[in-house]
């Protein structure tokens, strides 16, 4: 249950809202697509953010093998990279994904939680450049690499 003081989403936060990554992640992963996927906060730092995607039968792409579909991986990386931008801005800046490219290195092991590591490597006033990897335990043996851009829709990043 949401406490009355907790905004439902980041979009309900006041303009002076100081971006608290863990708190923001809780909001983002409680409702909507992130909530349905079961995304959870994992870790963050300056310019990077990690979310967890626990394995679940419903998210499988190949029934015979139990391998996760790629859709949930894209959503995981979209959200993790999105959050990484706000660790740099220090405030919530509404934005939209412009493009995302995902390279699939290998299938994720059935049953394993996938970690999405997103980072923002460049901010301009309007565009944030992001990249990241998804792995299922060993960051040196990723499941996928991603790269993409977001655009600030209201206001400026800088």
């Amino acid at each position: 249950m949401d406490s009355p003081k907790e905004p439902r989403t980041l979009y309900d936060t006041p303009p002076d809202f100081v971006f608290d990554p863990a708190r923001a992640a809780r909001m983002m992963t409680r409702h909507g697509h992130g909530g349905w996927l079961g995304l959870k906060y994992h870790a963050h730092g300056q310019g990077w953010f990690e979310l967890e995607l626990p394995w679940r039968e419903e998210l499988v792409g190949v029934a015979e093998t139990g391998v996760l579909a790629s859709g949930p991986i894209i959503s995981l990386m979209d959200n993790a990279t999105s959050m990484s931008v706000w660790t740099l801005t220090g405030k919530f800046v509404p934005h939209a994904t412009l493009d995302l490219r995902v390279d699939y290195m290998r299938a994720a092991e059935p049953g394993r939680t996938v970690i999405g590591h997103g980072e923002c490597y460049k901010l301009t006033r309007t565009i944030s450049f992001i990249r990241g990897i998804a792995h299922d335990g060993d960051p040196d043996d990723p499941v996928a690499h991603v790269i993409g851009t977001f655009m600030a829709t209201h206001g400026s990043y800088l």
């Binding site: 989403t9 979009y11 409702h31 909507g32 697509h33 992130g34 909530g35 349905w36 039968e57 419903e58 998210l59 499988v60 792409g61 190949v62 029934a63 996760l68 579909a69 790629s70 859709g71 949930p72 894209i74 959503s75 995981l76 990386m77 979209d78 959200n79 509404p94 939209a96 994904t97 412009l98 493009d99 995302l100 490219r101 995902v102 390279d103 699939y104």
Partner: protein, 133 residues
């Protein structure tokens, strides 16, 4: 031709086949909280998932016409988001641009109420290998 052909992920999201267009299946998903991204808008990942399903469905249909049983392995996907998806039914269709013996390039388009105004595009590269047996 719905249900069993689509994987658990697609069925769980409510993705289904609407009709065939020149041999390419047109997939759709109705709006629900399950695919909501930022308030009022479709999640980009859900859109991408729908387009990937449509791309794979189009390639499977093409392989069937050729009478080739192939195993498909996605190599990569590039997605362009052009408009925010709103709270209504969303469609996607894949088009096989080039399918050789080992690799295929498939485009997919995603739209809502106006077919001439796609909300997203995807381009997917898929490795082909002969299915066992």
């Amino acid at each position: 031709m719905s249900g069993p052909e689509l994987p658990p992920y697609a069925r769980a999201l409510g993705i289904d086949i609407d009709h065939d267009e020149d041999g390419n299946p047109v997939l759709f998903v109705d709006f629900s909280e399950r695919i909501l991204g930022r308030p009022g808008f479709l999640h980009g990942g859900a859109m991408s998932g729908l387009m990937e399903m449509a791309a794979i469905a189009a390639l499977r249909a093409e392989m069937e016409r050729r009478g080739e049983a192939m195993k498909l392995k996605p190599v990569n996907v590039q997605v362009e988001f052009m408009r925010g998806g709103t709270e209504q039914r969303t469609y996607a269709m894949g088009t096989v641009t080039r399918a050789g013996r080992r690799v295929a390039l498939v485009n997919a388009e995603c739209w809502q109420d106006d077919r001439r105004k796609p909300i997203a595009l995807a381009q997917m590269k898929i490795l082909l290998s002969p299915a066992e047996g």
